[in-house]
Symmetry: C2
Subunit: 664 residues, 2 copies
Amino acid sequence: MDYPQESFAATKFAPGSFWDSRREVVRAQTLQHQLQMLKRTGRYDAFKLKWHPCYSEPPTSYPVPNHQFWDSDVAKWIEGACYLLMDHFDPEIDAAVKELVQMIREAQQPDGYLNIHYTVVEPEKRFTNLRDMHELYNAGHLIEGALAHYHYYKNDELLSPILKYVDLLVTTFGAQDGQIPGYPGHPEIELALLRLYKVTGKPKHLKLAQFFIEERGNPQGGKEKRHYYDVEAEARGENEHMLPGYFPAARSYWYQQAHEPIVDQQTIEGHSVRAMYLLTAVTDLVHISKPDSEVGMKYLPAVHRLWSNMVEKKSYATGGIGSMKKWEGFGIDYFLPQSTDEGGCYAETCAAIGVMMLAERLLQIELNSDYADMMELCLYNAVLTGMSLDGKAFTYVNQLGSSDQDISQRHEWFQVACCPPNVTRTLGFLGGYLWTRHVMEQSAIVNVHLYTSATLSFEVSGSTVEIEQKTNWPWDGDVEFAVRTGKDGPPVDLQLRLRIPGWATSWEITPRPDQLDVRNGYLYLTAEWLKRNPQFRLSCPMQPRVAQPHPMTLQPVAYVTRGPIVYCVEDVDHPWEHNHFKSIVFDATAPLREESRSQPDSYVAIIAENGAPGELDTSAWNKRIVAEPQTKVTGECHDLCFIPYYLRANRGGRGQMRVGLRVV
Amino acid sequence: MDYPQESFAATKFAPGSFWDSRREVVRAQTLQHQLQMLKRTGRYDAFKLKWHPCYSEPPTSYPVPNHQFWDSDVAKWIEGACYLLMDHFDPEIDAAVKELVQMIREAQQPDGYLNIHYTVVEPEKRFTNLRDMHELYNAGHLIEGALAHYHYYKNDELLSPILKYVDLLVTTFGAQDGQIPGYPGHPEIELALLRLYKVTGKPKHLKLAQFFIEERGNPQGGKEKRHYYDVEAEARGENEHMLPGYFPAARSYWYQQAHEPIVDQQTIEGHSVRAMYLLTAVTDLVHISKPDSEVGMKYLPAVHRLWSNMVEKKSYATGGIGSMKKWEGFGIDYFLPQSTDEGGCYAETCAAIGVMMLAERLLQIELNSDYADMMELCLYNAVLTGMSLDGKAFTYVNQLGSSDQDISQRHEWFQVACCPPNVTRTLGFLGGYLWTRHVMEQSAIVNVHLYTSATLSFEVSGSTVEIEQKTNWPWDGDVEFAVRTGKDGPPVDLQLRLRIPGWATSWEITPRPDQLDVRNGYLYLTAEWLKRNPQFRLSCPMQPRVAQPHPMTLQPVAYVTRGPIVYCVEDVDHPWEHNHFKSIVFDATAPLREESRSQPDSYVAIIAENGAPGELDTSAWNKRIVAEPQTKVTGECHDLCFIPYYLRANRGGRGQMRVGLRVV
């Protein structure tokens, strides 16, 4: 198992390249901005365990206190900071990390317990509401923060108290007498414990993660042989009609993917971030146990099944997942409206980050470009759109169409602030997503999933291997590779496997191998060929394309895409628009012209000349439910200007935006 | 105000005609069947005020006890029986009505109170939960039952105790000191009180109805200047997180159309039956107060606005309203999926009955065929589909497409049994929907809204007026009229106004008047012309047509209609179908051939020859979110056989059915 949160350190992004620029913004602006937000909102000082006035406020989403996630917001910021400090030391960020670590150390209770809410506000209620509260979720993020801290600082100032806390959890949870046979409502600690296990090698860490995964959704759990959430709710004296704000009905445990054991789940349901974090952990468990072990063979089919259901029936063109606002998650199959006023669209930033995590883990089990295609789609669209170009404003929900209720805009922070630091840490360890490597005694295999200008360096038995890729991706599909092996040590047999993007209608490699060995969307390059061809070029020509969603989504729209980028239209380029592009008809046969732009950032815009012949004429339906079939267009003909979806809400305007435009 | 529940008595349906046959089934089969159901389920004996085991059962929809509506089920059956007894005496039905009336009389409490649940189960909780409980709704149906009873039996055996109960309500509710300043969660008593007022002429009956209407949704109600439902819930000691099963969030008072005063409501929201009953009462109030009075000018614009929102943006092709199952009501504008697996479709039978009620009332204020078109659409489709041909099986929900979760089927009864007796009583007084008349001293105006074979007879100053229409409607659009006036008394100046159906692409009247005076969809015929032409023919040719829903509904489908009838396809005619006709492509340009059938009833089927060129080929989307735009069809070409929607689920099959078929 090669965690990108660790392997990223082997990758250097080329200065000025697409991702280097984004990461530089995050390092120079976002970390600082988010630090200010942590301070301004009270999160920074919260581990001092003093009362904050907001602790008395009623929950926005009953029964979860609004500050319930604060521990994780701090932990994720520490995690992101540690990844980025590795690139570039920043004394102010370093000082803040150190101060936070000190506060966390001091906040730890004598028995190892470590949680703000349950120490300050309800100390008697520890571990009494695993279903709704984020106690174990926070613990998971503390573990991940501690691992990043340990990785960067090479000391256990943070890891040590966290290990003590984990020891308390190991004692507290499990199937033994006196233990709590429960599992967290929001998965996160499972994947964190498995990462921890890789570092510590201690079976107790693996065992606790496995317990949480295996027990989840057990209808006959614990000694009482009942669903743990029922037992727990009864112990809290709760009435089943007191519904959490995210439950549409009593016992909606599918919200937490706990309605039945994971292995029995046929479709992906509920809160999309929880689903992704859970399946990432399950995939990690499969990897650690080996796919052909009993555990592997038990869980891998479930992960495959739920992944397929998600990608084929519950994902948006941008890679966003989840259409239902109430439970921030998945709707029924093919229910994928673009906007609130069409039935709902959620596509939370954190969920797309979760898709990337899961895809990356699956790629380590089975090299298949379907996973990498989804990972790339999310990265350039549903994830990247979550942060403004200046790195100081964020989105939580990423709809494909705006509406009067939900215009397309970013915010500097959120009450539930999971997304902003999640983008930070993801960009922090982004290098880990580009490629995965398998290092053997005198050989190595590197699977290249994503293309950008970057260099991967690692050692094989004392010999340095360097793989450099140079490209103007995502604007240009030519990638120049340079492979250097064995120059300072014994020779290394390096094999490369290059992803051929699913969106590529053609591609070529130069020089061309005699035989092209493509398996599951990856081009396999042998050590022999690479020795003869240490420099080569992969070309995946990019051109504007028109695509449509699955007909069962009942979305009569077309998208403009180019390479991995999904495009949208914004009112700032179309001042005549007034209805969020809902009525605009898109002539999908209009010529699409590329236009390279440099403001506010470098990108390729796409102009559809006379692409909007007018608005849909619905006058035939005036006062009527049905009318004769007809497709009339009214109003003026206009050009349409498409810009990358991730770039939306960066250039002013009224927040009117749409990805899929109506075709007739 | 001419209530159809009274005016219907002036209409005689021609033997063997479409509606006479349906009414004969209701009289001979349905009344008996429903009587047996009342007896079998415990409803019949419930007014004996003994404990029934089901009173202890937990509510299916918290917090409403499952037997909460029983009073109304009995009252509606009595009401329907009284309408139908007028046509044809049935000693068994007569005896049951009399026994029930006796039981109701004996159930009345000394102070006049009359309710099963709050006498037997929770006597101390009378009028403590107007929001959720159906106490006043039941009272309304008791009033309506009593009025029908009074009308038929010409005695006050039922009306008398009901008037006593109403006196208690008049004392209990209002803005005076010591009165409850509340209003019912489920409107019904308002329209019942206004009907009662017409009979009694007592201002207190009008005043109480007006109080309920005017106070509804008042954010500063009562002495406490707060919303009454808040005050009431607080008095019950309720936690705001204990959500009724139909509330998606706390204080979802829009469910009851009580989120704001009626006059302020901009869009039609919430439970669709409640909305229709409420607006019917509001329209009655406008009519009684006169449209140009202060009350009329206050409320009529709101009714118009909400009607338009409903018809233009929240109605199905069948006339059904409401897509949201959770609150049995309206979704957002244009959110009108056909089936559960596409996002939801409700279209409750009672709601369509409510649309007919509201449309009829509006026609009395403003003669406009838009209202009558909707009334006819509902009658022949969303209402008529609610009962099987044999009169013994019913639907509650009337989706436009079946799914594995919700196949197209009928049931002999329901736990919440509002719909079956509602269809019974509606067909009982159906004659009252055909026409409305304004009788003056020596003249009369009759507005003809619906066509069928029937005769209207009434007196004008001692002279009998008869208007006879003869037609094979809804299968044939020729209507022969014969008008007879003044044969047994002084001459009568009769004017007729004939609705020209909105679906009619052409029409003619023979003989043709020199000038055709058509206003708001009605052809005005003068007394002079009618004296010269006492017999004439209106022809509205019917042919199969293809129609489509509003483009903003995002439903890429076409319907087959003919005259007022909306058609569907069923698997019984297409044994090869296996996916609820979801994937079948309909070639809307295929020739449509009519086929007159006589089994299981007379109707016109429509055959689309080679109408289904195959199934939509979605293979391009295999494992992908988007694909190149394309429309491919796969599989075999078939004929499609369309049958009237109301006829569905009468001829066997697997319950696979669809109204709108995909067009590409």
